[in-house]
C-alpha cells in the first residue's frame, strides 16, 4: 500500500515537471486565440483575428519563406558535409580522431553570441569578387551549416555505432569497392540517422536567433529574428504569438512523425 502511494506520487511529480517543460508552448498556443491585445489572464475571449492578420501580413510570410529556404539549404549542406566527416571519424582510427570530434562538437559549447560578434566583422572583410559575404545568402548558409554540423555529425556517428560493422567488412571482402560498399550497405543502414540529422538541423537553423540576428543583414530576415527585433523595440505582439503558435504546432507534428517512423529519439 505504502509503496503504491509512493509510486503514484512519483508519477504525479514527474508529470507535473513535464507539464512545466511544456507550459510555454501550451500557453503560446492558447494565447494565440485570445481576443484581447493584452496577455491578461484569464483570456477575455476567443478569436481567430491574429491568424487572419497573419494571412495579410506580407513581411511575416516573406520571412517565414526566408527561414524555410535557409534552413532547407543549410540542412542539406550539413548532411552533405557532415556525413562523410562522421564516417571518417568513426571508421578510420587515425591519430587525433578524438580531438577532431571535440573540435566538431565545440560550437555546442562556445557562446554563439561571441562567435556571431566575430563573424559579423570577419564576414565584412572577407570578399568574393568585389562584395563582402556579409548579409549574402552564401554567408548565411555557411554560418548555418556550421551551426548544424555538430548535430549532424553526432547523430550520424550514433547511427554508425548502432550499425553492424561486419556487414561492411563482408561486402569489402566480397570484392565490392569502398564507394560501392558505402552506398550499397552503409548508407541505407545509417540513413535514418542522416535523416534525423537533416530534420534536426533544419529545426536548429529555423529557430536560430543569435547568429542570424548579427549576420543576417537586411535582405534575409528570418522569422525568429524579425520577432526578436520587434519584441525588443515594440513589445510582444499577439500576431507574433499566433505565428509562433503555428510554427510550434508544425514542429510538434514533424517531431512525432519522425518518432513514429524512424524513432528519432534514439539519435538526439
Amino acid at each position: 500500500m505504502k509503496e503504491k502511494i509512493l509510486r503514484i506520487s512519483f508519477l504525479v511529480i514527474c508529470w507535473a515537471i513535464i507539464l512545466y517543460i511544456l507550459l510555454p508552448i501550451i500557453v503560446l498556443i492558447v494565447n494565440s486565440f485570445n481576443k484581447s491585445k493584452f496577455f491578461e489572464f484569464p483570456p477575455t475571449g476567443f478569436s481567430l483575428q491574429w491568424f487572419e492578420k497573419f494571412l495579410v501580413n506580407k513581411e511575416y510570410q516573406a520571412s517565414l519563406l526566408v527561414s524555410v529556404k535557409i534552413a532547407a539549404v543549410s540542412a542539406f549542406s550539413g548532411i552533405l558535409i557532415g556525413t562523410p566527416a562522421a564516417y571518417a571519424i568513426k571508421r578510420y582510427n587515425f591519430k587525433g580522431s578524438n580531438l577532431l570530434q571535440t573540435f566538431f562538437l565545440s560550437p555546442l559549447m562556445l557562446p554563439s553570441v561571441v562567435w556571431a560578434l566575430g563573424l559579423i566583422q570577419y564576414m565584412n572583410v572577407v570578399r568574393i569578387g568585389n562584395a563582402s559575404i556579409l548579409g549574402t545568402f552564401f554567408g548565411l548558409i555557411s554560418a548555418h551549416t556550421v551551426i548544424i554540423l555538430p548535430y549532424v555529425i553526432r547523430m550520424v556517428m550514433t547511427s554508425l555505432s548502432y550499425m553492424d560493422k561486419d556487414l561492411e567488412s563482408a561486402s569489402l571482402s566480397l570484392g565490392a569497392n569502398p564507394i560501392k560498399t558505402f552506398f550499397g550497405i552503409t548508407f541505407p543502414l545509417i540513413s535514418p540517422g542522416v535523416l534525423v540529422g537533416a530534420v534536426f538541423g533544419f529545426m536548429v537553423s529555423f529557430t536560430d536567433v543569435v547568429v542570424t540576428s548579427f549576420i543576417g543583414g537586411s535582405k534575409y530576415i528570418t522569422f525568429p529574428v524579425r520577432m526578436y527585433s520587434e519584441i525588443r523595440s515594440e513589445g510582444l505582439d499577439p500576431l507574433a504569438v499566433a505565428v509562433s503558435a503555428i510554427i510550434i504546432i508544425i514542429l510538434v507534428i514533424v517531431s512525432f512523425i519522425c518518432e513514429k517512423t524512424i524513432q528519432w529519439s534514439r539519435y538526439i
Partner: protein, 360 residues
C-alpha cells in the same frame, strides 16, 4: 473544346494586354505633387525589392497605406524591417562595405553621425527635390521627417491638473513612474530632464543620473505603450515620459490617459530623420520613397492620422489639426533641443544607466 481553349487564350491575352496598357495611364493620373510625379512618371523598378528599416506600429501603417502601393504600382516591392533605431544603425555600420538596406529611419543625432562616418548619403535637393521645401531646422544633416515632443503621459485620476516635470519627483508618486527601455529617445530625453532639474542639462550625466535614480524603484521599463497604459489603467504606474504623437493616438482612441506639455524646463523636441544608405542597392527606389515621405500628402497623413509634426513648409494645416502636433518651425524651435552629447558618449551613458538605474 479546341475553340474554347482558343477563346480562353485570347481572353487571357486580352487581360494581360489591358493591364499593360492600363498601367502607364494610371501613372499619368498622378495624385502627388509635381516634383514627386516627375520622379514617379514612367518609373519602372523592374520587380526589385527595396528594404526600409523603420519603427513598427503607427508609422509603419502610414507607409503601408500611402507609399508602398505606389512603389508596387511601379513594379517594385518593399520589405519593411521593423525594429529600434540602434538595431538598424548597427546593421548599417556592420554592412557598410556591402549595404543591403536602402532607407533607414533614425533620429537627428544618429543621422548626423552616420553622414559624418559616410554610411548615409549627404542630403540634397538634387537627389530629393522635397528637401528644398523642408524647414531650415529639418535640413540640418538629414532629411528631417517629423517632429514630436517628449512630455508626460499620466493617469488623470492620479493628478490634480496637468503635471509638470518636477511633480514626478514628489514623494507620493515614488515607485510609480515608469520609464522606456534604454537606450532610446524617450529615456534619453527623460534623463536630460533629470539633468535640467538637477541644475545642469543633457551634457551633465553626473547631475542627471543621481536625480533620475531618486525615482527608483522603477515599476516598469516599457517597450511599447500597450504595456504602459495597461499598467497605468491598473494603477501600478501613474506617469511616464512619452512622446506626444504616440500618446495622442491612444487618447483619440479613447484610452484613459492624458498628456501634458511640461513647463519646467519644457518639453523636449525630437526629430525623426530619413536616411538614404550610402551605396544603397536600390537607390532609385530609395529616392522615390524619400520624395514621397517628405511630400505634403504623407506629411499631412503623419500629422492628421498619427500626430507627428510636419517638416515640410509647403504643408498648411487647419487649426484643429495643428493644435494636436508640433506645427511650424517656430514651435519646434521653442522646445528644448538636446545636443549630440548622448549619442557621442553612448558607451558611458548606457553603462551608467545599467549600473545606476536599471539594476535594483
Amino acid at each position: 473544346m479546341k475553340k474554347f481553349s482558343m477563346f480562353l487564350l485570347l481572353f487571357v491575352l486580352l487581360c494581360v494586354a489591358s493591364t499593360v496598357i492600363a498601367s502607364p495611364a494610371e501613372a499619368a493620373d498622378c495624385n502627388w505633387d509635381e516634383a514627386t510625379c516627375e520622379i514617379l512618371d514612367g518609373a519602372d523598378f523592374g520587380g526589385r525589392t527595396m528594404v526600409v528599416g523603420v519603427w513598427g506600429g503607427t508609422i509603419e501603417e502610414i507607409y503601408r497605406k500611402y507609399i508602398i502601393p505606389e512603389i508596387e504600382a511601379h513594379n517594385g516591392k518593399v520589405e519593411m524591417l521593423l525594429g529600434g533605431t540602434s538595431d538598424r544603425v548597427a546593421k548599417v555600420y556592420a554592412e557598410r562595405e556591402n549595404p543591403t538596406m536602402d532607407i533607414a529611419y533614425t533620429n537627428m543625432f544618429e543621422s548626423a553621425k552616420g553622414i559624418k562616418e559616410g554610411v548615409f548619403e549627404v542630403p540634397s535637393a538634387d537627389a530629393v527635390p522635397a528637401y528644398a521645401d523642408l524647414y531650415d531646422v529639418a535640413k540640418i544633416d538629414a532629411y528631417g521627417m517629423s517632429f514630436a515632443a517628449l512630455g508626460i503621459a499620466y493617469k488623470p485620476e492620479a493628478f490634480e491638473g496637468e503635471p509638470d516635470w518636477p511633480d514626478l519627483w514628489k514623494p507620493e508618486y515614488k515607485g510609480k513612474i515608469a520609464m522606456s527601455t534604454f537606450p532610446g529617445s524617450d529615456s534619453e530625453g527623460f534623463l536630460t530632464i533629470a539633468g535640467y532639474l538637477a541644475g545642469g542639462d543633457d551634457t551633465t550625466p553626473d547631475l542627471a543620473f543621481p536625480k533620475l535614480a531618486e525615482l527608483k524603484p522603477i515599476p516598469l521599463f516599457f517597450a511599447n505603450l500597450d504595456e504602459l497604459f495597461m499598467m497605468m489603467d491598473k494603477g501600478d504606474v501613474v506617469a511616464a515620459a512619452v512622446f506626444d504623437s504616440y500618446t495622442r493616438t491612444y487618447i483619440e482612441q479613447g484610452a484613459n490617459v492624458k498628456f501634458s506639455y511640461p513647463k519646467t524646463p519644457g518639453a523636449i523636441v525630437t526629430m525623426d530623420t530619413l536616411c538614404i544608405v550610402n551605396n544603397a542597392p536600390n537607390r532609385d527606389m530609395a529616392i522615390a520613397w524619400a520624395q514621397m515621405s517628405l511630400s505634403p500628402i504623407v506629411q499631412e497623413a503623419f500629422a492628421r492620422e498619427i500626430y507627428f509634426g510636419p517638416t515640410n513648409s509647403k504643408l498648411v494645416l487647419d487649426e484643429e489639426a495643428a493644435s494636436k502636433v508640433i506645427y511650424g518651425e517656430e514651435q519646434a524651435n521653442s522646445l528644448i533641443r538636446m545636443s549630440t552629447y548622448m549619442t557621442d558618449h553612448r558607451d558611458e551613458i548606457v553603462e551608467r544607466f545599467n549600473r545606476e538605474i536599471a539594476e535594483d
